[in-house]
Amino acid sequence: MTAANWVQACRPMLPIQNPLWAFVHNNILQMLEDRPFPAALREAAALYRARPYESESFYREQLGTGRIDRATLGAVLLAGWPSAFERPRDADDAVARFLSEPWICDDEPPYELVGGPSAEHLVRYSLRDRPLQDWLVPIIASYLDQGMAPWPNPFVKEGLWAWFCFAVEASPDLAMPWAPHLRRRLKQHLDAGRDVLAIIENETLGVASPQSAQTYCLQTLFVLKGWSGMVHKLETEPQIAPNEAPRLSLTDWLAAMLVSIHALDEWFDAGASNSPAPVPSHYTHGLGRLRRWQEAYERTFGGQMLAMLERDMQMPLRPSNRRAQALVCMDDRMESMRRALEKPERGIETIGTVGFFGIDMNFHALGAGRPSRQCPPVIEPSRTIRELPVEAEGAEWARSRAIGRFGHSLALLLYFRSRSMFRGLLVSLVAGLLSFAPLLLKLMMPGRAHRVRDRMRRLMLPRPATRIDVDGPGGYAPEEQAQIVASILRSSGLVRDFSNIVAVVSHGSTTANNPLRQAYGCGACSGNPGSPNSRLFSMLANRAEVRVALDRLGIHVPPRTAFVPFHHDTTTDLVESLDSHLVPSYCVDEARVVHGLLSDAARESAVERCRRLVPGAARLPEERAFQHVQDRGHDLAQPRPEYGHNRVAACIVGRRACTIRSNLDRRTFLVSYDPTSDSSGTALREAVLGTVPVAVNIAMDYYFSRVDNDGFGCGSKLPLNIASLLGVITGSKSDLRVGLARQQVELHEPMRCMVLMEAPVQRVLDLVMGHPRLKRLVLGDWMRLGRIDPDNGSIELFVGGAFVPWRQAWPEAAEFGSGAVPQAFDSRFDVVIRGTW
């Protein structure tokens, strides 16, 4: 059957966002990665009805502020000057003509949508979406609901199509002006004895040619892209549903959409002739120019970063008196913390690695309802590991669990009962008066209210010391445990010169009232806090058996070295010591000192972050800055608890020595890798595969949500409304929104990720060309690849299939004198947040 093939071909093209409770950063155009970046963007623009680059006015503004360099723009223009236009004299002339003649370089033809009434519909989308959404959104939202509505959909066992047919047949004629059309259309199909696939075929071939039928189906599904993507997601991965996925099939949904859209079109165009001529999508106009602007924008940043790195690598390294080492996540948000830790007065050497520390597990926390995924989205968790109370405290745990369950049941009870009739009356009479207390406290002083609540909870529900059941059934075998530790140590180059304390610092984020909480967490732990991983990693690395096995693998960890887990909250900048009862007695004091240093560094990083969060923060005393970030994290009203990965633009894999002298201003992922101790390239492989794809995913997710927040992202946070417990809609009824909110990406500078690896040419090429996805990303220009030579520190860029010295590739790039800060890293040129909040 052809219709089945069409649906199958549509599947990978749909939005891939998970239900929000399991949100992970993705390149939202992952399905188009096999095409070059500009081609993929052109098609995506038509499908998503969104502008795939920033606007012309944005780029012009950047040109004005110098964020786009005139010379760079000229070089970009000259390199790709279309032959149809008279060749400019020089770069200046090219820029001048580009700016004054808006048709110049506009050499990408608009993408054409398949003809038929629905294409018309797509073009005039804003006029006609309302009746369609009014009809279809309640149907699909109530069908997919995961437990928000107390009344479950009675059709969940029978399927979406049965529910759709029932809704069409049982609705009275006056329900909608076009209800008779819809009923007639469906009845014709059912009378003809067509099944769902036959209906799709019939509806599609009525308006599109067999060659374009599949594209037509895809464009139809994209009319409500968020819901279509969610239907596909829950059908193929039912276990990702927050509660229980109903019986689902994308075929049913496509048929329902086709029948509804065509009935609506029939009503709208009663009498008008069907026009099967293709319609150009106006979102794809002028992409040729925007592509060049974007290129120049990225190249300006890249040039400044490389010039700065090149200059700084010539400077002498500061002598350090190292007190401890810290193994931290490669996250760009840790960069400011790392700089603070490395200051001479703290003297902590930092090593960046993947924040899940190589432990690919699902973690079932004590008392949690379900396990959480503790590894990056690009890796499938291999096992589920439980957290158990330490035996001695079992009885206490039983009591506190009973109280906890009672509290949770009460919360649910209040949620459902306050919405019913008579019980709602009782709840509002009793709980209503009490609700003024949290209302006033939580809003007026969020940070302090949280502390009080936390203290009360700890008094009432003492949380027992727990252990992670790694040796139990389904855990890691002893040799695997050694493997995990060895692989992280080897890939990050931490194989010699161990200090007495190695802090293993995971990170997470505290945000309140935030449907997109997962987007702020640790990307390497799929948005969950990384604390279980740092606890488990330290526990494994401290084991005597593991140490013996490490010895055999050639990594000699001195017996006095202890791995101590910590957790850093990137929103509130608090550092918590984990599993303190497991710290060996001989280094308890030292661990306490390290905890103090970490906390100090986090405070310093809080002050640095405040610069972008609060204007005039340079004058803010440290204490106030620190209190401010606390309040931000717990504030119900705060749409910007922290700035997440904003401005991230690069990923550098190499020794920290290459970057330690530069202030990278939280713009880069920093993965530690020591090329000198890795002759075979396996360490590079381990260092890159867990990090670079994640970095690209994050950069692309931010890129798209930033360039057209309404099309690729989910718009302002203010009107968002949680639907079906799966995602958010705007206002009372809309498509399920995908992507990030405007407040999350406001400060972002949208660019593709620039990846630098400090490794010999052949090793980089072997790795990149041998890995299918990396190869696609590099050859399709989804990221820019460069390398730093491990021997002489020279930087090369991958251009046209080979590495060339970067100044040869970008001859126009400026040089910076010592002490000069390139604009891209200078906070004075930031998008400044004015005002008080």
Binding site: G369, R419, N514, P719, G731
Partner: protein, 434 residues
């Protein structure tokens, strides 16, 4: 008595100052620096809080239950004077305290969330106007004074539904709310005209005497009708869930708390007039009960956070109408107060639900249990399903209104327009919107 008659008008004027100033800036196109409006609103909320406390204090020191302040007449003809009257009594004070408690909370909530939001100046203007209007409404002593505030609250409500004015749906829904509000406003105006026409005394405090005046029943029914629109009771309900287009903060203050509860407030205010009219009581009780049942059924099938709250609010207000019909006026006052607090809290936290359910380990098991417990499982399957479909589709209440009222109404005007075109020899204008 004396201090109130001086201070109440002064306080009222000072509270009205902030929205007037912000509105003037908007009108004149003066762009204030980011954060200035928010600070003005913060000060304004403190002023409202302080003024409420002051009035409360002065009222206590008068040792009377209700005291009236007559403002200078706006219009004087022979022996007839048209003036606004202010009234301070426990009911008005209760509502004023509610306003004074919730308004600062909403302002505090809006400060970070409206930071850098395009159009935030509009929001601050509208929310300060709402607060000033509400405060004035609490102390309105006759229907004329009340009408001004009532109207302003309606205006700010409509404008905030359409706050995201680039979205077609937001604009259409705000228009819909406007239509229902206008019906209510018309009924209040009708009541005011009738009061001036046939009542010996127009002040609320004399309504017990007026209850025996000729048009008392008509006035009672008109007031009931007006209150239905503001509180989204049947048949004027369909706008409330559509009002959820606006930002969460405005949804909370309008539709969780201060604006929707004005219906019961108006009825309590005028209770002396209608509490012995069986027709009013029966209508009130019937509509309230019907709304409660309808909104519960519809709300139970709503799968999204904010409209589900809209329906549960409607349910509780329906119950308040029932309580009013049974004469439980004190209970209504208390119910109104605590319900407003509860819903504000729930609206403001409505974005937390994914987080809450995710962190709640008993969620999955408990939801299955809860979902099995309802009565509809007793019904035959077909009926059960029809009920469910009905609930998802609001039992077609809005469609029926559209069909029976809006379309004939529009058709008439279209006919008139066409006739005019023909008469003047103009070609028919573009295709009229459906």
């Amino acid at each position: 008595m004396n201090s109130l008659s001086v201070w109440l008008p002064l306080l009222l004027a000072s509270i009205a100052l902030a929205p007037v100033a912000l509105g003037a800036c908007l009108l004149l196109g003066v762009r204030l620096r980011e954060g200035i409006e928010a600070r003005v609103a913060l000060l304004h909320s403190m002023l409202v809080l302080g003024a409420t406390a002051a009035v409360l204090f002065m009222w206590r020191s008068t040792q009377t239950r209700a005291c009236e302040v007559e403002l200078p007449p706006l219009l004087q003809m022979h022996d007839y004077a048209w003036r606004a009257v202010l009234l301070v009594d426990p009911l008005g004070l209760t509502y004023a305290v509610l306003v004074a408690l919730l308004y600062p909370v909403i302002v505090r909530f809006s400060m970070p969330s409206f930071f850098r939001e395009p159009g935030s100046s509009r929001y601050w203007f509208l929310v300060t106007m709402l607060a000033a209007a509400l405060w004035a409404l609490c102390f309105a002593g006759n229907l004329d004074a009340l009408f001004v505030s009532w109207e302003l609250i309606g205006v700010s409500s409509v404008m905030l539904i359409g706050f995201f004015r680039r979205q077609v749906r937001a604009c259409q829904n705000s228009l819909l709310a406007l239509v229902y509000y206008r019906i209510g406003d018309f009924l209040i105006l009708l009541a005011a005209v009738l009061i001036h026409h046939s009542f010996p005394e127009h002040r609320f405090s004399h309504f017990d005497v007026d209850a025996h005046a000729p048009n008392a029943l008509m006035v009672g029914l008109a007031l009931l009708g007006a209150s239905l629109a503001k509180s989204a009771q049947l048949p004027m309900s369909p706008w409330l869930h559509r009002a959820m287009e606006g930002p969460a903060a405005s949804s909370a203050i309008f539709y969780g708390a201060l604006s929707v509860h004005l219906g019961p407030f108006l009825l309590l205010r005028t209770a002396k007039l209608w509490h012995e009219e069986p027709v009013v009581l029966w209508t009130m009780g019937f509509l309230g009960g019907a709304t409660a049942v309808w909104a519960t059924l519809v709300g139970r099938a709503r799968p999204d956070a904010k409209t589900a709250l809209a329906y549960s609010t409607m349910t509780q207000i329906g119950i308040m109408y029932l309580e009013l019909a049974f004469g439980l006026h004190k209970l209504v006052g208390y119910h109104m107060f605590v319900h407003a607090g509860l819903r504000t809290w729930q609206y403001l936290r409505s974005s937390s639900l994914i987080q809450d359910f995710q962190d709640n380990p008993v969620f999955a098991a408990s939801v299955h249990l809860r979902r099995r417990l309802f009565f509809e499982h007793l019904l035959p399957e077909r009926v059960q399903r029809l009920f469910y479909l009905g609930a998802v589709r609001l039992f077609w209440v809005d469609a029926i209104q559209q069909h029976l009222i809006v379309r004939p109404f529009l058709a008439v005007f279209r006919c008139i327009a066409a006739a005019e075109d023909r008469l003047l020899g103009r070609p028919r204008g573009g295709e009229s919107a459906r």
